[in-house]
């Protein structure tokens, strides 16, 4: 039983990491731009598709992992410049609706470009095997995913804590007027943060390709979960997004054993409780 | 000052934001009738005090008694229904709605029987009352204009009118003349006088000393969240401590 619990825990962690990659992007964008970005799921999907194209072109999964998020990030950067900026004067619910429109369009554009089929999963050199835990195999790729999750946490933490662009980001999240008065180009910062958010989500997308299937509808499914994650964690809190991603991942994983038909409902129940009793989430804090 | 019971009694009120003590143990009694002014330099805690007294913020500690009833944890609307209202420093109207609709919204709670919530035509008396109020501020010709299209002075007039459509017993006016031209200021001052004459006790938070001294019978001076002087205008004018806080603490470097 103990081994089962540990195995479920590990798979839950790996599921949580994908949620973390999406919800960290959502959190950054919300923390700086104040926009709840529905299209974050589309960036996840684009990450997988663009990654697939890069992989086809280069034949190297690691190059795809490197380039796909950057390409998607650049795309998001321009999307923000041209289509999201005009909406900042609107009410926040309109911004949400606008990004919902982005998601609709991107999903269908992807279908036009990459077709409607399922995209084959690449093999990842060196990570196709498994390690033995309690005499049961556990795939190395999942361990890699968990490690990548923690790595992105570390990199983001380091970036925000110890680099100047990161400090500027933290500064701007608390006082944009002062940041501007010190020389921060806030409009550019917005575009860059939107791009960075897209990079994180797209990284999630490409990393998921070796184990799941990619199709144009995949962003839709995951964004709702990510929304729930950031509500649990606290809007705008990266720490909260991380902890909540892991909580949701673990609940789903243990739910499969303990309450097979209600693990989906569990998330909603938690969200409802959080909103009623701790409305600002687990970690109400700024980026 | 007055042997009667105060209508508003503030007892050791505290409110902090982080380590900033915005309101630091304020004690205050307001008696019925006339105009009282609260003045003080920037950051003295005037706005926070008004926000706490009118229910926009809850205090950290201390009590507020309105006609003897403790109200410091009551909702805004509860206090309003008891006869305590305010105007806002930065106009807080129903933008996008006409003058008439603004005034009507101010009156609806008091004047409309619940059963007529869905009537397509307003009760005659109510309709007349709205027109009467609009006329009293000389805006009859502008009553179908959306308020955000009016001049700043006109908006301010409606701001104040909105707080007195149902005359409150105690009214806080937060910087009623800020951002106004001299003409507009005189108009607002007349308005304030007439409000006080109808029996509403007015508490005026104001920067403009001409306005304060020409209207107020009693002045309360706030500095760093505490009351440092309280008395008739003449005594305030001669108060050295007040002079100091306005002109700067007595500096040896000077």
């Amino acid at each position: 039983m103990i081994e089962t619990l540990i195995f479920q825990g590990l798979t839950g962690l790996s599921q949580g990491m994908f949620l973390w990659l999406i919800s960290s992007g959502l959190t950054l964008v919300f923390g700086i731009l104040g926009v709840l970005n529905f299209a974050q799921g589309s960036f996840y999907m684009l990450g997988a598709f663009v990654g697939y194209s890069v992989l086809k072109f280069t034949g190297n999964f690691w190059l795809a992992t490197l380039f796909a998020p950057v390409i998607v990030g650049i795309f998001a950067f321009f999307l923000e410049r041209f289509l999201l900026k005009p909406a900042y004067k609107l009410d926040e619910s309109y911004q949400l609706l606008l990004t919902f429109g982005f998601a609709l369009v991107l999903e269908n554009l992807a279908k036009l470009i990459w077709g409607s089929g399922y995209i084959a999963s690449p093999r990842v050199p060196g990570l196709n095997g498994f390690v033995m835990l309690f005499n049961r195999p556990f795939p190395t790729y999942y361990i890699f995913i968990i490690a990548m999750g923690f790595l992105t946490v570390a990199v983001l933490w380091y970036f925000l804590k110890f680099t100047w662009p990161g400090r500027i980001l933290r500064a701007a999240s608390t006082n944009q007027e002062m940041a501007a008065a010190l020389g921060v180009n806030v409009s550019m910062l917005y575009s860059l943060v939107f791009g960075l958010g897209a990079i994180l989500s797209a990284l999630g997308g490409i990393l998921a390709t070796p184990i799941t299937v990619t199709s144009s509808g995949v962003g839709d499914t995951i964004i709702i979960k990510a929304f729930l994650v950031i509500v649990i964690g606290g809007l705008g809190s990266l720490k909260g997004a991380f902890v909540a991603s892991l909580i949701v991942g673990l609940i789903e994983s243990y739910g499969v054993i303990f309450m097979p038909f209600f693990e989906m409902a569990m998330i909603y129940i938690i969200v409802i409780f959080i909103l009623l009793f701790k409305p600002s989430g687990l970690f109400p804090e700024n980026v | 000052m007055n042997s009667k019971e105060p209508i508003l009694k503030v007892d050791k009120l505290f409110k902090s934001f982080g380590d900033l003590k915005a309101v630091n143990g304020v004690n205050l009694e307001i008696y019925e009738g006339g105009i009282v002014s609260i003045i003080g330099p920037n950051g003295a805690g005037k706005s926070t005090l008004v926000n706490i007294l009118t229910g926009f913020l809850f205090p950290d500690s201390g009590h507020i008694y309105f006609y003897g009833e403790r109200i410091e944890r009551k909702s805004i609307q509860y206090r309003v229904r008891k006869g305590l209202n305010r105007s806002f420093q930065i106009n807080s109207l129903f933008n996008g709605m006409t003058v008439k609709e603004n005034i009507l919204l101010g009156l609806l709670y008091w004047e409309l029987p619940l059963g007529r919530l869905l009537t397509n035509r307003l009760p005659k008396a109510l309709e007349e009352k709205v027109l009467e109020i609009i006329e009293s501020v000389n805006m009859t010709d502008k009553m179908n204009i959306e308020v955000d299209k009016l001049s700043h002075g006109e908006q301010r007039l409606i701001e104040i009118t909105l707080s007195i459509v149902k005359p409150p017993k105690l009214l806080f006016l937060d910087e009623p003349t800020s951002g106004l031209s001299p003409d507009e200021r005189n108009m607002i001052m007349d308005k304030i006088r007439s409000i006080a004459e109808t029996g509403t006790t007015v508490v005026l938070i104001e920067h403009n000393m001409d306005v304060v001294f020409s209207l107020a019978k009693r002045i309360v001076v706030l500095n760093r969240g505490s009351v440092i002087a309280d008395g008739e205008p003449s005594s305030i004018r001669g108060n050295e401590e007040v002079k100091k806080i306005y002109l700067g603490e007595d500096l040896t470097v000077a």
């Binding site: 289509l83 309109y94 609706l97 609709l104 909103l275 | 909702s75 996008g96 709605m97 609709e101």
Partner: protein, 321 residues
Amino acid sequence: MKAVFDPFESFEKFLVIVIILGYFVAGFFAHKFLSFILIKAMVLSIFAMGYSILFARTGYLSFGHAAFFAVSAYSAGLFVLHIKNSMLLALVVALLFTLVVSAIIGFLSLLRSKIYFAMLTLAFGMGIYTIIWEWESLTGGDDGLIGINRSSLFGSISLVPINHYYFFALVLLILTAISIYFIVYSPLGLILNGIKENETRMRYAGFSPKIYSFLAFVISGLFAGVAGYIDVFLENSASPVMAHWSESALPIFAVLLGGIESFSGPMVGALLLTLLITFLQTVSSEWKLWYGLIFIVVILGLRGGIVGFVKSKLKGRGGEQ
């Protein structure tokens, strides 16, 4: 543009009456598919008009109203399938259930405001979706409820032929339009608008805004229920996707397309949206792409919706004279 003293009130009224007359006349000429599509448009109109009370008037964005649509559809369907084959009683039962569910969800969601409110309605709505999907013994799970047939009204008026049902739906549409008219152009409508414009000021005017927001929520929920009721007897079936959050985007889009500030907007928007989707689906298999693009254009470029656009043109002409 706003409640009670809208100078365009008569224009709005006129527009709604024209559309209703149009539906009425079309009812005699439309052949089967067109009447089906027009009933669909009426369903969306009722849904959107009710939704506009919450979204356009009171300023709350809900992603959970599809759930009320579905609750009504399922309770009406289950009632005629298992208890009594009476469409009138089914309407009463459906609205009763919708009332209870929307009151509970509305109460809980309104404990928080703005973006949290949108999230909460999404969560509660998806909770209902999950219940419908999983409670297979009652709801038929993913297969849904089937065979929900129309019967007759008062024992004599048969609603089985689609053109009869068309006029039944039209009567409900007219009743909805009248109710919405009375809400929008009444003190209640003004109060709701006041909450949207300035909730704090409403408190200083003596109101308890939450009570009225709750009222708006339940009203909009009830009309979602009316729409769900008509739909289930039109489709003769109910399925869990009815409750999915993405279905809540339809009334939102209808309201935005028609014009968020206007009384006739939801009706205009619903009709256009229904025709638009039908048209796009016919001409292109990538219809959702076009749908999304139009959505973006409406939000970025056509803030007052179509009715708002027409009104500003009319107003502009009036100003020049």
